[in-house]
Amino acid sequence: MSSGDWPLWEVFVRSKGGLSHRHAGSVHAPDAQLALAHARDTYTRRQEGVSLWVVPSKEIVASDPDHAGELFEPAESKIYRHPTFYDIPDEVKHI
C-alpha cells in the first residue's frame, strides 16, 4: 500500500462559523470518508477549523494558464471596479 495509489483530494477548511471554507491543501486517501479523516489529521490539528470539505481533485475544473492574458489582464486597468471610493465605517468588519 502506498499513497501513490490513492486519489488526491482537495481540502477546504472553515476556520470559524460565518467565514467561508478556504482551500488548505490536499491529501491522498482511498475514499471520501478517509479523505475527511486525513484532512482532519493533516490540516486541523492546531485548531484551524470547525468544518471540513474534501473534493476529488480530478473534479476541479481549472482555467488554462495559457489563457491567463485574455482572462485576467483586462481587469488590471479598471480601478473603478474596486470599492475604494467609499468611506468605510470603522465598525464594519471583514471587508
Binding site: S3, V27, L34, A37, R45
Partner: protein, 246 residues
C-alpha cells in the same frame, strides 16, 4: 497513604500506563507508516495518548518520574498495549480492540465520584471516540479489502485476541474503587464490547478467533518481554542524564 488512596493511585497508574505505553508504541510508526497521511494519523493518536498519560500520571504522582524512572515490574499497563506494532494491520487490530474498550470505559468515567477523573474523562473521551471510529474504518477497509489485507488482519486478530480478557479483569484494587464509585465496573460493559467488536468484524468480513487461553498479569507488573524494549529507548535519556531538560 490510606488504602483507598493507594488504590486510587494504582488505578491512575493503570490508566496512565495504558495511554503512555500505547502512545510510545504508536510513535514508533513516525516516519514509517504506509502513507504520509497515515503517519500523521498515528502520530496524532500517539500525542493524544501521551497527553492523557501526562494528566493521569501527574495526578498519581510526578508524571516524568513515573514515566522515566520506573522499571518494567512497576508498570501497570494491560498487556495489549505493549504488543509489537507488527504490520499496519496488526496495529489497527490492536487499536480497535483497545480504543473500543477505552472509549466505553471513559464514557462511564465521566460519571465517576472522583472529580479529577470526571474532568479528565470528559476531555479524553472525545479523543478516544475518534481513535475508535478511525480504527473501525480501517478495519472494514483492510478486512474487506484484498486477500492479502484480509489475511494480515486475521493474523493481527490471532495475535491480539488473547489479551482481551485482561481488559475486563477485576482484582481487589479495582473492586475497592468500583465499590466507592470511583471506577466503572468493566464487566458491566463486556457484552456491549464483544458485540461492538463483532459488529465491526462482521462488516469487515472478518471473524474473531476462537477464544484462546487468556494472558493476564499486566496490572500486577507481570509483563511480556516487549515492555523492556519499549522502555529502553523511552527512558534512556533521563536515565543517563537525570533531569535533563529539552
Amino acid at each position: 497513604m490510606t488504602a483507598p488512596d493507594a488504590a486510587r493511585v494504582d488505578y491512575l497508574q493503570r490508566l496512565g500506563d495504558d495511554s503512555l505505553i500505547l502512545g510510545q508504541r504508536l510513535s514508533e510508526w513516525c516516519g514509517h507508516a504506509p502513507a504520509l497521511e497515515v503517519d500523521l494519523t498515528l502520530a496524532n493518536f500517539a500525542l493524544d495518548l501521551i497527553g492523557q498519560a501526562t494528566l493521569l500520571l501527574g495526578e498519581a504522582e510526578d508524571a516524568d518520574q513515573l514515566a522515566f524512572h520506573r522499571d518494567v515490574l512497576d508498570f501497570r499497563n494491560c498487556l495489549l498495549v505493549e504488543q509489537p506494532n507488527g504490520d499496519f494491520a496488526q496495529t489497527i487490530v490492536r487499536q480497535l480492540l483497545f480504543s473500543t474498550w477505552q472509549h466505553m470505559l471513559f464514557q462511564r468515567l465521566t460519571q465517576s465520584t472522583d472529580r479529577f477523573l470526571v474532568e479528565f474523562a470528559s476531555k479524553a473521551v472525545k479523543e478516544v471516540a475518534y481513535h475508535r471510529e478511525l480504527a473501525s474504518e480501517w478495519t472494514v477497509r483492510l478486512g474487506d479489502g484484498t486477500d492479502e489485507s484480509a489475511r494480515r488482519m486475521a493474523e493481527g486478530l490471532d495475535w491480539c485476541w488473547r489479551f482481551i480478557p485482561e481488559l475486563f479483569e477485576v482484582d481487589e484494587t479495582l473492586q475497592t474503587l468500583i465499590d466507592s464509585g470511583v471506577a466503572p465496573d468493566p464487566r458491566a460493559f463486556e457484552d456491549e464490547y464483544r458485540s461492538a467488536i463483532t459488529g465491526v468484524l462482521t462488516e469487515a468480513k472478518l471473524e474473531g478467533p476462537a477464544d484462546q487461553r487468556p494472558i493476564l498479569g499486566g496490572r500486577r507488573g507481570h509483563h511480556s518481554e516487549h515492555l523492556g524494549h519499549i522502555l529502553a529507548p523511552m527512558q534512556f535519556l533521563q536515565r543517563t542524564y537525570p533531569n535533563a531538560k529539552w
